[in-house]
Amino acid sequence: MADLKINFAGIKSPNPFWLASGPPTNSGYQIMKAFDAGWGGAVWKTMGLPVVNSSSRYAGIDFGDTRMMGFSNIELISDRPLSHNLKELEEVKKYFPENPVIASLMVDTREEWHRVVKDAENAGADGLELNFGCPHGMCERGMGSAVGQEPDVLKLIVSWVMEVATKPVIVKLTPNVTDITDSAIAAKEGGGNAISLINTFQSIMGVDIDNFTPYPVVDGKGTNGGYCGPAVKPIALNMVRNCAQSPYIGLPVSGIGGVSNWRDAVEFILMGASTVQVCTAVMHYGFGIIRRLTSGLSDYMDSKGFANVSDMVGKALKNTVAWEDLNLNYNVIAEIDNKKCIGCMLCYAACEDGAHQAIGIGSNGSRVPFIIEENCVGCNLCSLVCPVEGCITMVESKSNTGFESWKDRTASGNIPKTFDDPLAGGLSHRVTEIEKALRKMK
C-alpha cells in the first residue's frame, strides 16, 4: 500500500488532500467534520478584518446536463470575528493534532500582519497562507489580488510576515497576471517557504438575458466574481508547471484549481505540486468525496509502484517542453475501427468543416467514414469528437524517421523564410473541388 503521508515545507499531513480556503473551511465544525471524513489538512477561510457579505453570492456554468462545470463567487473573506475563528481553530487542533490547519490571512498594514500572524500561531495553526489572490471585493481595498499583481508589494508584505512568523509561510498567488512566475519569484525573494496556486479568475459568469444583469444577481445588479471549478484546471496546471519548472523559484507548490477527482490530483502532482487543495468539488458534493480521492490516488500509486507521494512529484515535468523542442518528424494518422463505429459521422463533420478534409463517407449509403490518409495531419480532432471509447485511435505513421525539432531545423536553416516558401508545412493542402463548397449557391 502506498504511503500518502507528506511533508510540505515542514508541514506534515496524513495525505496530500487539503481543503482550500473558502466556504467549506468557514468554521471549526466544518473542518472537524472534514478531518473526520479523512481530509489531510485544511486552510481556514481567510481571516482578517471581518467583512459583510452580499446575498446572493455564487453562480455556476452548466455544460449540457452537467451542473457547475465552472463556478464563481463574490463572497469575501471570513465575515466572522477573528476571535471566534481562532478559538475554533484551537478546538480543532485539540481533536485533530495530526491534521495540519493552515491559517489563511489577509490584512492591510505591517502592524496588522504581525498581529494576525502571532494570533494564528498562538491558536495552534500549523502554517500560514497569505491570501494575495482574491480578485473581487478585497482587491478594490488594496488587498488580495491587488497585492498579488504587484511583485514588489507582494515581496514587501511577505517580508513583514517573515519578521514574526515561526511556522511555514505559504504565499497564495493570483492567476490574474501575465506571468505568474514573477509573483512566485517575489514570494521567494520575500522569504516565503512555499507557494499555492491558483486563486480564482476575475470573471463575469454569465448574463441574465431577461433582465440584463450579470450573474450572480444582487437586487438587480451584479459584479465581477472569482471563477473556479473543473473548467479552470487546464490553466491552473500550466501555472503550476511554470512555477515548478522555473529555475528561480524552487519552492514547494500546493496545487489548486478545479481538482474534482483523484486523476486531477495526480495530474497536479505530476506537474510539480506536492499537495492539492480542493474547494468547489466539496461545495458541490460534500466532504465525502475524500474517500474517492484517497483511494484513487493510493490505487494509482500502487499500480505505478510509487511508495511515497514525493516519488511522483513533478514526474511529468521533463516531458513538458517548449513547442520548439517537439519532434516535427513524428506523424500520427487517425484510424477508425469499423466494428466499433456507430455511424454518428461526427468525425466527418468535424474534420470536413473544422480541420483538414481528411475523412470521407462511403457512397454506398454506409455511415462508417474512412480516413483519407494523404490529407490526415494527425491533429486528433476526430478522436476527440468520437463518442465511442477506442473507436478512433491515432496510430504512429510507419514512415516516421529520426528526430528533428523546430530548434534543430532553425539551426540547420531548414525552415520557411519567405511568405511563399516551399518549405511551408501546409504546402500540399489545397482542396480544388470548389463546387462542393457551394451546394446552396448552385
Partner: protein, 445 residues
C-alpha cells in the same frame, strides 16, 4: 389473468389507461436532450416520414429555446405533439438512433418532441401566420391528420379552407382510434385547436360528404377538393354468428372506449381476432377495461404477425394470451356472444390450412374483430372521374396526390391502406403542395 379491475369511474379509468410515455418535466428533458450526439446527416431524420430535423429540435431544447424547438417540429409536422406520443418510434426515429449500435438506450425522441410541442400548445405561442388571401378556395373532406395538415399548409399559402367532418370533433383516428394510454382526447383536440387558432381554417362538424350531389356541389363551390377520409368500417369475417351482440369491430371498440371511457361496453372474457397493431391495441384495452381473460387469435405464427414487436409486448404485459395459428369458424350465442369456435391452422407454402377436425370452443362474452378496415372505393367510385387500378387502388399522381384528371387530391389512410399518423401528415403536406402547384398554374393562366 389481467391485472386490471373494471374501471367504475373516470379516475379508475385514467389509472388503468395511464400514459405509457408520460410527459417529461424540464429536468428530464434537459438530461435526455443533453445525451443527443447531434449526428451529422442524422439517421433519425431520414427515418421520420415528415423529416423533422430531430437533432436541431433536441439541441434547441437543451439550450432553452423551446419555442424554436417546437417551430422546428411543426414546420415539418403539424401533428408534432400527437406524433411524439403515438408514433411507433421504435421502428422510426428512435430505432435509427446510433445509440442502438452500442446497446445504449436510444434518445427518447418522441417524448422530447411532445415536451417542446406541449410547451407552445399550453402557452398558446403562435408559430404560423396564414398567407395573404389568394381568392382560391379548397374544400377538405375529413378533419383527421391528413385533412388538418393539408388545411394548415394551404392556409399558409393563402387559400380559404373549409373542412367537412362527419363526426363532431377533430383529428380523426388520433382521437377515435388511438389507445387512451398513448394520447388522450383532450391532448388530440388541443393540438387541432392550437393550429386552427393560428391558421383560421373552418371545420364544419357533423357534415359527412357521401352523396353524388354533395360532391358536385363542392366541385362547383371550390377550386380544389382534398379527400382525407381514412378507411371504412371493420371488414367482415363472413362467419356465422358475426351479427350477435358484443361481436364488434376493433376500430369501433377502440372508439367506444375513447369516447365513453369507463362506461364503454366491454367483456369479461374477450377474444380478439387479428395480428395487426389494431388487434394489439384492442386486446390491451380490453384487459385495461377489466376483462378477466383476453385471448388473441391470429391465423398465422408469431413470426408472421404484422404487429410491431413492442405493440405485442404491450399486450403481453397486460396478460393478453396469444392463440397463434388459430382461426374463427363460428361465433355461438343466443342474441349475445357466448362462445367462439376456433380451428387450429397450419401454414403450407404460405397458405393457411384450417384443421377442421380439431376445432375447439372458448367461452367468451365479447369478440373483437381486428381484421382490417374496408376500403372507401364504394364512396370514391361515385365521384366523377375517379379511376382505380386492377388492385382497386385510386390512380393518383405520386408527387401531387392528385386523382388523375380531376380537381381532387387524396392522401392518408384512404390511399395508403392504413398507416401511421405521421405518414398521413407527410402525404397531406405533399398533396397541399400539389394543390398549390395545380391552382397556381390556373391562377397564372
Amino acid at each position: 389473468m389481467s391485472d386490471f379491475r373494471k374501471p367504475l369511474n373516470e379516475q379508475e379509468f385514467e389509472k388503468n389507461f395511464a400514459p405509457i410515455n408520460p410527459p417529461m418535466d424540464q429536468t428530464q428533458a434537459m438530461v435526455e436532450s443533453s445525451r443527443c450526439l447531434f449526428c451529422f446527416d442524422a439517421p433519425c431524420i431520414k427515418a421520420c416520414p415528415t423529416r423533422i430535423d430531430i437533432p436541431l429540435f433536441i439541441r434547441q431544447i437543451s439550450t432553452g429555446n423551446l419555442t424554436g424547438s417546437a417551430r422546428t417540429i411543426y414546420e415539418s409536422n403539424y401533428f408534432g405533439n400527437a406524433c411524439g406520443k403515438v408514433c411507433p418510434v421504435d421502428v422510426l426515429c428512435e430505432g435509427a438512433c446510433v445509440f442502438n449500435h452500442v446497446n445504449e438506450k436510444p434518445i427518447e425522441i418522441g417524448r422530447l418532441q411532445s415536451h417542446a410541442a406541449t410547451y407552445v400548445i399550453e402557452n398558446e405561442i403562435a408559430l404560423f401566420k396564414p398567407g395573404e388571401l389568394n381568392k382560391k378556395r379548397v374544400a377538405i373532406i375529413g378533419a383527421g391528420p391528413a385533412g388538418i395538415s393539408c388545411a394548415c399548409e394551404l392556409r399558409r399559402y393563402g387559400y380559404e379552407v373549409d373542412i367537412y367532418e362527419a363526426k363532431n370533433c377533430p383529428t380523426g383516428l388520433t382521437l377515435h382510434g388511438v389507445a387512451p394510454y398513448k394520447i388522450t382526447n383532450e391532448e388530440a383536440v388541443r393540438e387541432a385547436e392550437f393550429l386552427q387558432k393560428q391558421l383560421g381554417f373552418v371545420i364544419k362538424y357533423n357534415s359527412p360528404v357521401s352523396k353524388y350531389e354533395q360532391f358536385k356541389k363542392l366541385e362547383n363551390e371550390y377550386d380544389a377538393i382534398f379527400i382525407g377520409i381514412g378507411l371504412g368500417e371493420t371488414v367482415s369475417m363472413n362467419i356465422k354468428g358475426e351479427d350477435l351482440e358484443n361481436c364488434i369491430g376493433a376500430v369501433e371498440y377502440i372508439e367506444d372506449v375513447k369516447i365513453k371511457k369507463y362506461l364503454a361496453n366491454s367483456g369479461r372474457k374477450v377474444v380478439v381476432i387479428g395480428g395487426g397493431n389494431t388487434a394489439m391495441d384492442a386486446a390491451s384495452e380490453a384487459a385495461r377495461m377489466g376483462a378477466e381473460r383476453v385471448w388473441l387469435s391470429y391465423r398465422r405464427s408469431r413470426a408472421d404477425m404484422p404487429a410491431y414487436g413492442f405493440e405485442y409486448e404491450l399486450a403481453k404485459k397486460v396478460c393478453v394470451e396469444p392463440l397463434f395459428n388459430t382461426m374463427p369458424v363460428e361465433i355461438l350465442g343466443n342474441g349475445m356472444v357466448e362462445a367462439i369456435r376456433l380451428a387450429p391452422t397450419e401454414v403450407v407454402d404460405g397458405k393457411v390450412i384450417v384443421k377442421k377436425d380439431e376445432i375447439f370452443t372458448i367461452e367468451c362474452d365479447m369478440v373483437i374483430k381486428a381484421t382490417g378496415q374496408e376500403k372507401q372505393n364504394v364512396l370514391l367510385d361515385i365521384i366523377d372521374g375517379f379511376e382505380f387500378d386492377a388492385n382497386g387502388k385510386t390512380i393518383i399522381d405520386s408527387e401531387s396526390f392528385r386523382a388523375v384528371n380531376t380537381k381532387y387530391f387524396i392522401a392518408g389512410d384512404v390511399i395508403n391502406g392504413g398507416s401511421e399518423i405521421v405518414n398521413a401528415v407527410a402525404e397531406a403536406v405533399m398533396a397541399a403542395e400539389g394543390i398549390h402547384k395545380f391552382l397556381s398554374k390556373e391562377m397564372n393562366q
